[in-house]
């Protein structure tokens, strides 16, 4: 188990270094930091001074190590667009996105998992077929359509929920949360529901397929031949065999929402990372894009790492494949 964990962590660090290098190449080769940082009437001396200060006269590898070193000290460089430290820009937007991602994950688990199990256990029931029909819509409708539909119904027609913003935000010092106020919860429901539509549908279909397959297997038949109750067979013996792919997908989806909920954030004017990313692309703000790239890599790698460290707890065979 320790070997397994160590090898996973080493892999994660290596991948992060590679991503950082690519991001660094972006910063090093695209755009001109001097033009962005110097005033138009700067002298040649000021220019040379800045080159030396930024280390632009150093070889590529030295600069990369410097770049990594700075990041480890919390220095992520400056935005070309706003001249703010990139770290501040991301820290400001991060809570909104992370909270959105977790609430939508919560909806996915609470709605998707039971519905998926129901469809897997009773694939031919009327209700099961009805769920499958609805989930087809969930898979095929794009996010912005779902978002606009939800706004049209719940904000415009019924006037129940706000259509934009985060509501009242409570500042905890290190984190600005919208989850401690009623208006914050009201504001997060529609965007979170929008994001989870696809995932709920996806998890339902995945669990159903997995359960139907496991249900045919010889060990489930043997469990029946031993007189175990149907509840025990489905909810313990069968479910445990479907968990690996399910938590893998949930993890990837969580990363996806944190990194790429651009469209949904735009529809709901949600002040998160997605809108920051969009603005940075429009402004060719290379340092922000580069750090964002590394950040996204980090999120995916950490989530993936956690998921992989959970594997052996579910299926001990994972450890054997390792050795």
């Amino acid at each position: 188990m320790l070997n397994y964990a160590a090898s996973r962590i080493v892999q994660t660090v290596i991948v992060l270094l590679v991503i950082s290098f690519i991001a660094f190449l972006l910063v090093a080769n695209i755009g001109d930091p001097l033009a962005a940082l110097l005033s138009a009437d700067a002298t040649v001396n000021e220019r040379l001074e800045l080159i030396a200060k930024l280390g632009l006269d150093q070889p590529l590898w030295t600069r990369f190590l410097h770049f990594i070193g700075n990041m480890l000290h919390g220095d992520f460089g400056f935005s070309y667009r706003t001249q703010d430290p990139v770290a501040n820009l991301i820290a400001e937007r991060l809570p909104a996105t992370v909270e959105l991602a977790f609430v939508s994950l919560l909806i996915t688990i609470v709605v998707g998992v039971p519905a998926g199990i129901y469809c897997g256990v009773n694939p031919n029931s009327l209700f099961g077929r009805f769920i499958m029909l609805i989930s087809t819509a969930g898979i095929t409708l794009p996010n912005f359509v779902v978002g606009i539909l939800l706004i049209a119904v719940f904000s415009v027609q019924l006037g129940l929920l706000p259509s934009f913003g985060r509501g009242t935000v409570v500042d905890l010092g290190f984190w600005k949360t919208g989850l401690l106020s009623v208006s914050g919860w009201r504001a997060i429901l529609l965007p979170a529901a929008t994001l989870s539509t696809f995932q709920v549908a996806f998890i339902i279909r995945m669990l159903r397929t997995q359960l139907m397959e496991v249900g045919q297997s010889e060990h489930i038949r043997f469990a029946r031949a031993r007189g175990l109750s149907e509840a025990r067979i489905w909810y313990v013996y069968a479910i445990k065999n479907t968990l690996l792919p399910v938590i893998t997908m949930l993890g990837l989806q969580l990363g996806n929402i944190i990194a790429f909920s651009v469209v949904t954030e735009n529809v709901f004017a949600w002040p998160g990372l997605g809108s920051l990313f969009l603005q940075s692309i429009q402004g060719a703000d290379i340092p922000v894009i580069a750090i964002y790239l590394i950040f996204v890599g980090l999120v995916f790698m950490v989530i993936n790492l956690i998921v992989e460290l959970l594997y052996p707890l579910i299926d001990a065979r994972v450890l054997r494949r390792q050795s």
Partner: protein, 329 residues
Amino acid sequence: MINAPAPLLDVRDLTVTINRDGKLVTALDKVSFFVNPGEVLGIVGESGAGKSITGAAIIDLLVPPLKRTGGTITLAGTRLDQLSPKAMRSVRGGRIGFVFQDPMTSLNPVITIGQQLCDTIQAHLKLGGNQTKKRALDWLDRVGLPNPDVQFKRYPHQLSGGMRQRVVIALALCADPALVIADEPTTALDVSVQAHILELLRDLHRESNVSMMLITHDLGVIAKMADRVAVLYAGRVAEISPVGELFNAPKHPYTRGLIRATPMPSATGEMRLDQIPGAMPGLGAVPPGCAFNPRCFRAEGDCRATIPPLYHEESSAFSCFHPLERVTA
């Protein structure tokens, strides 16, 4: 059969059909046999003869589109074919244990052996947690696994094929069933392991006096284990005889063909091997009359016209119009 004890399991006219695109095809055609208390009944036949279907039909575990459509199954006075699903569940594992064929696929890969045993015990016996565990450990010991405490916590993939089959046997027997149906219990194992598993089954059978239905295609296994043998052919019973009579004086030409097709040294020590011409008809392709008639050297007009009934003699029964004489073998 006059002074024989009441059979533990009595199967009469068991019929199983398979629905193929709306057409009903008979897979098991009025199969009748019984198993006495403490007896080992061998069920033998080629692949596709309906052996496994017979076993699965008894505990209502047929895989759709196979479906039981007729006949009665009586276990110690209880009609199994009329039980509710809930009552059937307590028969499975509780009254009838089932040993599956392939230990590589029949154990749940993500649940420990101990847990699988305890769940099975608790499904049938009202025992506390400690007693359940004690019984599980006891069974691991009885089926010959070293260090039961260690094995209890292990997962199936950590055991060899032979050890897994021992676990499967423990799972089938741990709730003290009256009858064990073993469906090709050694077919998936190495030859050296097969002998050990057969020995284990025989020992457990002697200790507990449990009745057994041993389904196999291997006449060697039958000779070692069975008291009586039912020979199935194309979903019908060809012959049922005590094991000695079956080998020494088979009545049905198919039985003799089956015995002669098994490599066995003759009295002079040379190996003799005769194969039966042709192949067993598949599902839905059974010829009219006796299913064996196209391959039978004794077949006559009546064999092709009507299905021979099961003729009962003192200890045996056969379904043939022209049975072999005692001396012909």
